[in-house]
Amino acid sequence: MDFLIFLIVALPLAGFLELLFFGKRIGEPGAGYVASATVGISFVLALIAGFDFLQGGEHGRTVELFAWIPSLGLNATFLWDPLSAMMTLVVTGVGALIHIYSIGYMHGDPGFGRFFTYMNLFITSMLLLVLGANFGILFVGWELVGLSSYLLISFWFEKPSAAAAGKKAFVVNRIGDFGFLIALMLIFNSFGSLDYGSVFEGAEATLTAGTATAIALLLLVGAAGKSAQLPLYVWLPDAMEGPTPVSALIHAATMVTAGVYMVARTGALFELSSVAGAVVTTVGALTAFYAATIAIGQRDIKRVLAYSTISQLGYMFMGVGALALVGGVFHLVTHAFFKALLFLGAGSVIHAMAGEQDMGKMGGLRKKVPVTFATMVIAWIAISGIPPFAGFWSKDEILASVFNRGGGYIVLWGVGIVTAGLTAFYMSRMMFLTFWGEPRWDDGVVPHESPRSMTVPLLALAGLSAVGGLINTPWRPALEHFLEPSFELVDQTHLPEAGVQVALAAVSIAAGVIGLFIAYRRYVRRATQLEEGGRWDTLLAGYHVDDLYGRTIVAPGKAAADVMAFTADAKLVDGAVNGTGWLVNWAGGILSKLQTGLVRSYGLGILGGVVGVLVWLLVAGGGF
């Protein structure tokens, strides 16, 4: 059993190493098969290992591999409990489907082998992140996903925009990681340990309210970086420069959920600070609303989905912040299904349109890509919150729990409801502009359905998006039951009573339907084309936040770097170093005059020296 859990991580790692050294030789499509197989087998192993938890009540186990940093009491240990099992299943399951899809999508790319190398590295890192039994392993996984994300975003590094996007993602993530690292130091300082077990169990007795708030808020900084929340969300839209399967895997289904996972995992710390919980919920609600408004104005099909992802992650933060941990994690799962599907579907559309991503040049694709269309419709309804598809159940559980906390949280619930309406609107806008209306294709584009290796994963994800929500319905909360042992230390927020639940659900369904209807009237009946100018340009540019950050943060940073590089370093440090060298050189030039090369002059010198010393001894030493 322990070995099984070790294998879950070791297999993608082995795949990564094999492709790293032999990827070029294996080539296409072998590299894709190797990568998909390792992840697929990991998924099967995770299923087998996860059976233990189905009866419920099982706490899971820790698997110790080796002592890592003995002086800190830190070991390389994996934790296999319901939460990490569920995360592992999502990562490897959705990951395997996306790997298979990529075999078709990356067909003919010169970097085919390299792509799958990075993908396997990513899966390995993500598994480390979710399986670690202490903050040390979590941090290692955390940094490694950052690295693989950077490698994959700038996968087409010959393109300057892709290289810049990768850099941006990395730098913004570093800002979050900085907060995370300080939080880890605070935790170690308070508990003398980084193990989940001792930290969470001792949290209530050890931490003062102030320390708990500080730790929780610093963790939030880290989570906001990785999960693209305000104000560190700016890297995610640019990350769409990467290949579409990367956007699906990393920037929709898995990596960006690391922050949600981390907050859920550390729920015992967030529980101790009502301030931190409120901050997380507020950040989530604001991000959800804010990103949804930007998504309305996008032209690029992938950027719509990028902002949509940020918005949905906001919902998850609302959930975990309000201590509806199951709700947040539940939405993480369903979102992984339908958002991966939306991205892969968008990739299929882009593939069909020969690389075109501008919705202004699509339209009328319904008949041309029927499978893609049908599967994307399911994802569209799921994200719009229409029952019984997946998104409804999870989003509603979060909103109902937030509502049930009362007080200021009811305002945040209202924000969530408005966002639900906006979500339905922008998703419908994207669907209508892409699949309905008259074709606006460029000349010479002949849309065609994607190959089987791409459509099969779409169908699988469509199935999950359709029924995935049923794993946790209010009358049969199977997921809640399943996750119970992982969250038993946390006093979670519960759902309101049934009558209130139905009323809340009706409100959120109404919001979704209104959004759908407005979009239908605008884009289908009136056949409105892509809007331009005025406020739409502001939305398209994401409220010019990038410019704002550029002026207020990046430019001063660059100026400071210039001062350090061209004044402090070039003049002061280099000056000191060169000055020392020059001084020695100058002194040597003078002293070298003594080296006449004439042996007899040296002899005279020695003799003179001896005589001098003797005289000095005689005079100063007062005789012998």
Binding site: L591, S592, K593, L594, Q595, T596, G597, L598, V599, R600, G603, L604, L607, G623, F624
Partner: protein, 113 residues
Amino acid sequence: MIPLLAQASTDGLAVEPYWYMALAAVLFAIGAAGLLLRRNALVMFMSIELMLNAVNLTFVAVDSGLGSLEGQISVLFVMVVAAAEVTVGLAIIVAVFRKRATASVDELAGMRG
């Protein structure tokens, strides 16, 4: 040494200890002069040997005067080191002579800084 010299005896022809010292001083001065004035490396070498042996002489003389042995042991060391030094030095001189066809140290000033 100074008491030794001060003892300068008055009884005529007996070999006094300070004679040895005087002889050693003369030998040393000749050696030093030869080292500084001659250009031939071989002759300079001989001058160095002269100086070394002048020192040896003082060692032995003073030792016999004091009735101790340390100085005499030192002499043996000096002789061994001098022999080794001559071996190496002569080899260098021969090698240089073969290459440059001269043993004049003034012409071998290639190490001038």
